[in-house]
């Protein structure tokens, strides 16, 4: 893809999975793209996430929209990013009577969401995963998987750069350049500080995309607009040892500590959910850590005595008004905000969503961007196979 | 109240990013294999230096009996005998560690290399004590 010197220039603020996928999408459509990230790429929520490639089953009952989105993106990602996933499928296990009673609704909802679910008997489940709690009642197999939380997004950055995008990590956006127009104000550039040199400079832009995840509110504030993003942290616990080949989920309505994702020689248990004000000040509450271990060991008893490798928190960027009582009530789906109706032209925010849907989020954002800039090129990211992550360092 | 502050700025020169020879010889943060590597180099160089010295000294033999016997009387001094003990240490360490490096270098007993090192060093220590006693008693 050759860069069009006359093409509009889009600056993306935020170097997480979403920003990387937006850069890739826009570069494929021939725009000039510059992405700035204050730290290392994927140093925000992206790198810290659970590493779960959702089949969508988790959302099938309560959030059909998210479930359909997930399974669609799950299929696309396997095709465009081979090698970035452990493709071992997932198992939803029912432990209590209530879990078992929930199974028919869960199974039917999966099928209705086009998720290829398969009923697994207790005996078969224990043969598949000998470390499961022997008290399980039944299970459902779905196409979950393990994502390398950093290296999958890195492939989007690598591909974007191959297609002409400029990726600038350690470059912090500190101000927006605003120009007064007849309709209000227009963002025409971003002031950044290169943290490796201390140099402050300005990058001119025809349009700025805010892909800040839970930091999106702070970035939008630079342009004087408000976006309803609620940082919703959750605690994750990684224990040494791999106790399952498949992703193990609790078969019940979504709750805390009900997913164990095997990854390399670790098992990662997550997660909890609360609401925070500032994604830069996340706590790791002791009771949440204890809950991860106890809930995880309800599914895989060996987790109770496993060595803890790390405990940490990651902040989801949930869409919703401040004041919602719990993170779980907010939709997991994403939204793209064009801030023109707020009186600010040339500024688009993409937020919400989750790691599995990063490409779809980028497609939605890029569609809005291209409509605004009158770029007719359609999205091509559904079929475009990504460069390996090592290409980023070439 | 929480203690939180920038204590000082720009206190001293920092190490270069490529460690260079410090990567061989800086003992900080070293583990067993690293120490063995350093000592293997030092003893190897030391023994090689001794070899050259020894060959030069042996040239006295070509100058006849009086030149050689004069040197031998100096070599019996306690200082020289201490030097001999250091030499024996160098030979023992380099030789015994060399057995480990050779075996490991051919992919043999790699997972037991640490135990092998310890065992060889115990043998070496005993041999060194025996040699030292011999040097100072027999002369």
């Amino acid at each position: 893809m050759t860069e069009r010197s006359s093409a509009p220039h889009v600056v993306i603020v935020g170097g997480g999975g979403t920003g990387g996928a937006v850069a890739h999408d826009l570069a494929l459509r021939g725009l000039r793209v510059t992405l700035v990230e204050r730290g290392e790429l994927t140093s925000g929520t992206t790198g810290r996430h659970h590493g779960l490639l959702h089949s969508g089953a988790r959302y099938a009952v309560k959030d059909r929209e998210s479930a359909v989105e997930c399974i669609e993106e799950n299929r696309i990602l396997r095709k465009i990013a081979p090698g970035s996933f452990e493709l071992n499928d997932g198992l939803f296990v029912a432990i209590t009577e209530a879990d078992e009673a929930y199974e028919p609704l869960f199974f039917e909802s999966c099928l209705a969401s086009d998720i290829p679910a398969r009923r697994v008997t207790r005996a078969e489940a224990l043969a598949l995963e000998p470390n499961l709690n022997p008290a399980i009642r039944c299970a459902v197999q779905v196409p979950d998987g393990t994502i390398d939380a950093m290296r999958l997004p890195l492939r989007f950055f690598a591909t974007a750069r191959r297609n002409g995008a400029t990726i600038k990590p350690y470059t912090e956006a500190v101000a927006m350049t605003m120009t007064a127009t007849s309709a209000g104000r227009c963002v025409t550039g971003v002031s950044v500080i290169d943290r490796t040199s201390g140099r402050r400079y300005e990058i001119g832009a025809d349009l700025v995309v805010n892909a800040g995840g839970p930091w999106a509110e702070k970035i939008a504030a630079l342009a004087g607009v408000d976006v309803p993003i609620q940082p919703s942290p959750g605690v994750l616990v990684a224990v040494r040892g791999r106790y399952a080949n498949m992703v193990i989920n609790r078969l019940h309505a979504s709750g805390d500590g009900d997913i164990v994702v095997p990854q390399r020689e670790l098992s990662v248990i997550g997660t909890s959910s609360w609401l925070a004000d500032d994604p830069d000040h996340l706590t790791v509450p002791a009771d949440h850590v204890a809950m991860m271990i106890s809930e995880g060991s309800a599914m895989i008893p060996a987790i109770a005595s496993a060595t803890v490798r790390a405990t940490w928190s990651a902040a989801r960027p949930l869409i919703g008004e401040r004041g919602a009582t719990s993170g779980r009530e907010l939709s997991r789906t994403f939204k793209c905000f064009d801030h023109a109706p707020d009186g600010v032209e040339g500024f688009v925010t993409i937020s919400g969503g989750k790691a599995t849907t990063l490409r779809a989020m980028a497609e939605a954002a890029a569609n809005v961007v291209c409509a605004k800039l009158a770029i007719p090129d359609p999205c091509r990211t559904r079929e475009y196979v990504l460069a390996p992550h090592t290409a980023y360092y070439a | 109240m929480s203690e939180q502050s920038v204590v000082k700025r720009g206190t001293e020169g920092a190490s270069p990013r490529r460690r260079g020879i410090a990567g061989w010889g800086d003992p900080r943060g070293r583990r067993l294999g690293g120490w063995a590597f350093i000592l293997n180099r030092l003893t190897g160089l030391g023994v090689l230096a001794y070899l050259f010295l020894h060959l030069i000294v042996l040239s006295l033999l070509a100058r006849g009996p009086s030149a050689w016997d004069g040197f031998v009387s100096i070599a019996a001094s306690p200082l020289f005998l201490c030097f001999d003990v250091v030499l024996i240490f160098g030979l023992l360490f380099h030789g015994l560690n060399g057995i480990r490096v050779t075996l490991v270098g051919f992919g043999l007993v790699v997972d037991r290399q640490r135990a092998m090192f310890v065992a060889l060093m115990i043998i070496g220590a005993i041999a060194l004590v025996v040699a030292a006693i011999h040097i100072f008693t027999v002369g």
Binding site: A310, T390, Y393 | A14, G20
Partner: protein, 257 residues
């Protein structure tokens, strides 16, 4: 009050814990010939890691601090550092467990620096790419488990997290950047062990090079530093056994393996 008895106690707190600690942090800007150390003081909790402390310093004391981090559980490999002269992943190194009132933090050595604690991994991947090793491996876990319907074969990510700690700890890389180094050689051994489409002969020829497996002097510092149990030194020795037995076999009239 015993803060840790509070169920909501922040196990990774960086303030108000009553455990003050000093961090001597290496600082260097792009283009500088040499760096210096800055000292910061913060408070830490029992589970507070070196990475937590550095992020707190950047957030609250000095926004100019440049560091790499991503996953916080030692699976991405970005936050490798030299802490008190040892190569560690900052995200799984608890400050109080180091046992020193002052903690020295430097970037990993023997690699180009972007600034402060952040290294440029281009050289690291240049070594890796020479091998062309696979990213995925056949799963060797839970062999008594049966395979789920529809799953062709168990697979998992390679153990190596590409952190560069082994290159930082290696005495040979320290003085000669041309050495292929532990990580790439470990990848080579993996590639020969489980080729998955690669040509093992070509990989073996590549590492049987003056800058390949034979540069190693068996200090085993790489295996000591590895946070992910890859054992690069063991892999190098396995490669050497393959190369040497091939040579000896050809000397004895057999075909070179």
């Amino acid at each position: 009050m015993n803060a840790s008895a509070d169920p909501a106690y922040d196990t990774h707190a960086t303030a108000d814990t009553g455990h003050p600690i000093r961090l001597r942090v290496f600082r260097c800007r792009a283009g500088d010939r040499s760096g210096h150390f800055d000292e910061f003081r913060i408070e830490v909790a029992p589970d507070t890691t070196v990475l937590d402390a550095l992020v707190a310093i950047r957030t609250r004391l000095d926004p100019t601090l440049v560091l790499r981090h991503s996953c916080f559980h030692a699976s991405c490999g970005t936050c490798g550092m030299r802490v008190n002269d040892r190569e560690v992943m900052a995200c799984v190194t608890k400050v109080l467990e180091l046992g020193t009132p002052t903690v020295k933090v430097e970037p990993i050595a023997n690699q180009a620096l972007l600034g402060d604690l952040a290294t440029d991994m281009v050289d690291f991947y240049a070594r890796f790419n020479a091998i062309g090793r696979p990213l995925m491996r056949e799963s060797e876990w839970l062999p008594d488990a049966s395979r789920p319907a529809g799953v062709e074969s168990y697979n998992r990510f390679e153990s190596c997290i590409e952190c560069g700690l082994c290159l930082s700890a290696c005495p040979v890389v320290a003085s000669d950047p041309r050495y292929l180094g532990p990580a790439a050689l470990a990848a080579a051994e993996r590639a020969i062990d489980e080729p998955r489409g690669l040509d093992p002969g070509a990989v073996l020829a590549l590492i049987d090079d003056p800058q390949g497996a034979w540069r190693c002097h068996a200090a085993f510092e790489c295996s000591e530093a590895c946070p992910s149990a890859v054992d690069p030194a063991g892999a190098i020795m396995a490669l050497r056994r393959r190369a040497a037995s091939g040579r000896l076999r050809s000397l004895l009239g057999g075909r070179h393996a």
